[in-house]
Symmetry: none
């Protein structure tokens, strides 16, 4: 966090870059992407506006980089957490889902950024940036899939990736549903609205568990019974 006035060495520059990403991510926790201005990011970094553009070519690239970081960290953490999971037991799907949901709740920034990916971030970048991002994603998804298969041994080959893709979709969808605008939140607070309320972690855990159960072969279940 302590970056010299002028980041001359590569490691200083990397630190400053990270500092900017941290500020941007934190800001995203407080307001919508569209309400965040580059001026504000700069101000909170104690930097000039122009300086941001030394590190990122556009607002989109800045937040895409933030997502990239978050994603990489999450995948790494997830890999460890899944490895620590005793696998193969009957409640593997539940334990898997709980682990994943927990890991995502702990990374609120990631779930803030994820819905922006297709809607905003990928709309104004060049092919190289897009390619670099997707390449990284591909690699991480590959690693992640391996971890998934470890935690869910019965899963058919190829379904590890599929689980992650479906997880992505669920996160994006549920995150939006779980974070209504204030006015809407007020409406949803009414008693009869209970069925429409979504609690992110709980719902993610539940739906992911169900989805995974549904993807596992029946035999596993039968043999238990």
């Amino acid at each position: 966090m302590a970056v010299k006035q002028r980041a001359r060495k590569d490691e200083d520059k990397a630190a400053r870059r990270r500092a900017i990403l941290t500020v941007a991510a934190r800001l995203l926790g407080r307001k919508q992407y569209h309400r965040i201005t580059m001026a504000e990011v700069a101000r909170r970094c104690h930097l000039a506006k122009g300086t941001l553009y030394l590190y990122f070519r556009s607002k989109e690239e800045l937040f895409l980089a933030a997502l990239e970081d978050e994603l990489a960290q999450w995948f790494d953490a997830l890999g460890e957490q899944l490895a620590a999971l005793a696998s193969g037991s009957a409640d593997a799907p539940e334990r898997f889902a709980a682990t994943v949901a927990r890991s995502l709740v702990e990374r609120e920034t990631l779930t803030d950024l994820l819905p922006l990916l297709h809607t905003v971030l990928e709309q104004n970048i060049d092919e190289d940036t897009a390619a670099a991002f997707k390449q990284m994603l591909l690699r991480k998804v590959g690693e992640g899939a391996t971890a998934v298969h470890l935690a869910l041994p019965g899963l058919a080959p190829g379904d590890g990736v599929r689980v992650l893709m479906r997880l992505h979709a669920l996160v994006v969808g549920l995150r939006q549903m779980a974070d209504p605008a204030p006015v809407v939140a007020q409406v949803l607070a009414r008693p009869q609205m209970e069925p429409l309320r979504v609690e992110f972690e709980e719902e993610l855990r539940g739906s992911l568990a169900a989805m995974v159960r549904g993807m596992l072969p029946l035999q596993v279940v039968s043999s238990v019974a």
Copy 2:
């Protein structure tokens, strides 16, 4: 479509209102919400900009109304289609999922509007509008849940609504993943990117089927074995 110059009677007004919604919805099929201007909607309706505001208080309300329409129609259609489904068979989840996915693909507009709901449409509306929308949604979800239970008899009480909520999340997430920006689409076209490509209908059907299977009691499965 043929509306009188001045819509004096209530039915004329309703017709004009619907005409506006149709135009707006069609436009959304062609470009992003943010790229659509009220001026363009007005032009394509052969109306003046100000006139739109006689029917809708804001851009958000206009598209929220469009969503409301689409949603209502979809729920109605879904109800019928699910009722027509022979229920209780072993492949109920698959047939259910296929029916649902098909019904959504046929209503592209709905799946265009749905991701906007929390991100945009609910951001600039007043409590009354929000309440009216949620009330309508609650009612439709209730009806829909009944239809779901008919198609999936084994489903636990309360899980009908849950299926619909999770479906909502999946649609939002998958729709975005399935419609990448042109630049990104180009990158995804590379052979090695295959795992990251999402085909909406197929993926929705697959994940919904899995999710539903996972929500059904094990007994169903056992009885098959």
Copy 3:
């Protein structure tokens, strides 16, 4: 100048358009094009910034329109003034040059705008705008050439247009030389700098007269001698 709050009729709109052009032109007399902001033009028109864009699609188009107006008016005035000139006399070139130079000095705005034409105004316009401008110019140049031939009967066919084109070049060049930046003006005020000082009207008259003399056939001169 008195335009209603809302210009609803075409003639009101034309009046407002003209009012904007007048303000813009006046401003150009005081500062460089690049120092003029659309905000300032709007402010001096007592209009909102956005309103300018209802009348002109860009800053360039605004000033191009101003030039168009000035040019048209000048050509018309010049036509009359040249027609009033007794032609054919031995000092026709001098009288022609004096008339032209005078007419341009009286239209300082035109000579302010002219140097911008190729440097700035034509840099950011679309083909239609460019075509419309050039078409108008072509027409006016045609009319102007006729007037030139009336004032200078000895001129070879085709040289009327040529005189106007060369005049254009002279005006652009001399106008810049005659209006140095303050710092430069101070330097040029030193006695020894006298040869580098340019007085616009005098120099334009002199060079135009010489140029025209040189374009007239020698016989005219010989026969006089």
Copy 4:
């Protein structure tokens, strides 16, 4: 072009300075002054941005220095070329004009820089710089005028300088007219636009010849007759 890493000796510094000017001038042949950034000049010099400012105090001074160089060289070359001209013949003006026009076409950079002089370069310099430039110009114009008088013996005293000043104006004006923006060029390519097209060398030669003829005393002509 091969300059040491650190220019310690004065001659090294002069060489580096010249290298920068060369790069800047070459760049100007390819794009508009405003589109050229100091960063680009530096990059093409394989120097850091800051280094440019060790040699020139501002972008304007840099290009002014480039103009100064070009101008000096041109005046020198012109002096020689005019001296080589057999003078006093009947077609002296034509030969003079052709020589001048040719010398300018061969120095495209000079004609690129000249229109910038009053519009841009002299706008952001201090009095000393301005004085130095004008002093140099004065000296060169004096020498040039002598050469002009040699080539055009009939010219009245003082008209040598005048020819050069008018030449300056013509070059600035014609150069702009001869280099339209791409969009405009397209419009001018239409057949009916022929009268508005300007070919630099041809038009400069023609107008300069006419101007000079018009500045020469009638006797010259009479003696021919």
